[in-house]
């Protein structure tokens, strides 16, 4: 298990992360022991602050030699050049190609790893036009974990082989996208018990399918169509009209138009599997737009995730029709 984790993290770092980091940061991170790196979930760079390696629920700092240090005074401090160079490498000198993503405060690199950005927002007509003077980067490592949705599948597929409308709920960094990715793969592939269904994926942030030049770099099954880098609401309707999917999957609902598109999909007889940020159902009920979907019981199943005891823990599976808890405890994907 640990060996697999070591191999996986080495592969992610070498193929996707090192190519977008300046040389001195690569030297530092590659010198850190795999004992720590195997649990790496985020790399955080902030100007004049220590380089932080986030490992699940804790984080570590390292000195310029790549040794883990407790005292932050001994840690390597990131500078403006680190951020600039990283940004240049990530965007491949093509910031214009990430204009839409930059406006939302992130960009996604090859492998589906999302890079969060902070800086000064430039406002035009009340909307964020772009970000300038970037001062912080959060490199979130995406992992493809095949089989992590095994325990959810029996709860969301009926005996007739239909996929129930499913909402995955969790705070950030609990494995929503990883589980959604595996759900898509399993629904698309089918099994001995149920047949595979055509799945349409609207990948607004290029995280689910990790597309490179429009082609998915992860396994999403043989019946999956991906609409990459397309706004959710628009994409869901486009897919329903053009690709006749049985299931539409998308990530992180939130805006009014997303909710409208989900409603349209459900009315068109297409199942929806999606995710939303939130801690529990009560909290979501009070949120605009999402609360409306919950009140009207548009979804059949709610899957609540947590990062305790570790990322990817299924806390509860709830049947929305009678609010019956189908599973409670700590299933670890």
């Amino acid at each position: 298990m640990t060996d697999n984790k070591n191999i996986l993290i080495k592969k992610i770092l070498e193929q996707s992360i090192y190519p977008v980091l300046p040389e001195q940061l690569i030297a530092m991170i590659s010198a850190v022991s795999l004992k720590y790196l195997k649990d790496l979930t985020e790399i955080r760079l902030r100007i004049n602050q220590p380089l932080l390696l986030v490992l699940g629920n804790q984080d570590i700092t390292v000195n310029p030699m790549g040794e883990v240090v407790v005292n932050s005074n001994e840690a390597y401090l990131c500078n403006q050049d680190d951020i600039q160079r990283t940004l240049q490498l990530m965007s491949k000198n093509s910031l214009y190609a990430f204009e839409h993503q930059l406006r939302m405060g992130f960009l996604t690199i090859d492998g589906g790893h999302r890079i969060g950005l902070t800086g000064q927002a430039i406002i035009d007509a009340g909307e964020v036009k772009t970000l300038k003077n970037i001062n912080g980067l959060n490199i979130r490592l995406a992992r493809e974990v095949k089989g992590c949705a095994d325990q959810i599948i029996p709860y969301i597929i009926t005996k007739e082989g239909q996929v129930l409308n499913t909402l995955i709920i969790s705070p950030p960094r609990c494995g929503k996208t990883t589980i959604l990715r595996d759900l898509i793969r399993q629904i698309s592939m089918g099994s001995k018990i149920y047949k595979g269904l055509p799945v349409g994926v609207v990948d607004e942030r290029s995280e689910i399918a990790a597309c490179k030049s429009g082609i998915s770099t992860v396994d999403l099954g043989i019946r999956t169509d991906v609409l990459d880098n397309c706004p959710k609401a628009m994409g869901m309707l486009m897919l329903i009209r053009s690709m006749s999917p049985a299931v539409v999957a998308t990530d992180e609902l939130g805006r009014a138009e997303d909710i409208h598109a989900v409603r349209e999909a459900l009315n068109a007889g297409v199942s929806v599997v999606t995710t939303v940020h939130g801690k529990d159902l009560n909290e979501l009920l009070h949120r605009p737009y999402i609360g409306e979907l919950l009140e009207n019981k548009y979804f059949h199943r709610y899957i609540l995730l947590s990062d305790y005891p570790r990322v990817g823990t299924i806390k509860k599976i709830i049947d929305s029709s009678n609010n019956k808890i189908l599973w409670e405890g700590a299933k670890i994907c």
């Binding site: 190519p19 300046p22 040389e23 160079r85 240049q88 490498l89 965007s91 491949k92 000198n93 093509s94 910031l95 214009y96 190609a97 204009e99 036009k129 772009t130």
Partner: protein
């Protein structure tokens, strides 16, 4: 006999120099036109396809051959392999390497440097404005180069032949 062979050689060499200078004079507006076509195509690949810079530059040379296509291809290759270098650094490097084959004057080279300085760092709308400005500047240089070509091509050829004859007369 020796004088005749010597005279013929002088005439051949001077004519060659004259014709060579005339051909350089003809080549310059042609190369400038090709650069304008490439920058125009680059603008389309950036604005409408949002391709990464190296891909956009590589695609901009479709249908173009010779030193200009080679210049843009080399820039695209280096951008892909060395994303840590800025487009300006790469353009400078490639221009230095191709000094002999690209027939460009100082102001045109400066426009290419400045082009590199602003590539990829702005949004699509600003890139479009900027690339249009570069094309306008290059078109002015092209008009001037065409005027010089019409004026000087024949002159260089005649000068080569006549210069050779003059040397022969003086020596003989």
């Amino acid at each position: 006999m020796l004088k005749l062979i010597g005279s013929l050689l002088v005439l051949l060499v001077s004519s060659y120099i004259g014709f060579k200078m005339a051909s350089r004079c003809q080549e310059r507006p042609r190369q400038l036109r090709q650069i304008i076509t490439c920058v125009g195509s680059l603008r389309s690949h950036i604005i409408y396809s949002c391709l990464p810079l190296h891909e956009a530059i590589a695609n901009s040379t479709n249908g173009i051959y010779g030193p200009v296509a080679e210049f843009f291809q080399q820039v695209a290759n280096l951008l892909e392999k060395n994303a840590s270098l800025t487009p300006q650094e790469i353009i400078k490097k490639v221009l230095r390497e191709m000094e002999g084959s690209l027939i460009l004057k100082r102001p045109e080279i400066e426009v290419l440097y400045v082009l590199g300085g602003n590539l990829g760092v702005m949004n699509c709308k600003e890139q479009e404005k900027y690339l249009s400005l570069v094309i306008e500047q290059l078109e002015r240089f092209e008009n001037e180069a065409t005027r010089l070509r019409d004026l000087n091509t024949k002159m260089y050829r005649y000068l080569g032949i006549c210069g050779g004859l003059a040397i022969i007369i003086i020596l003989v």
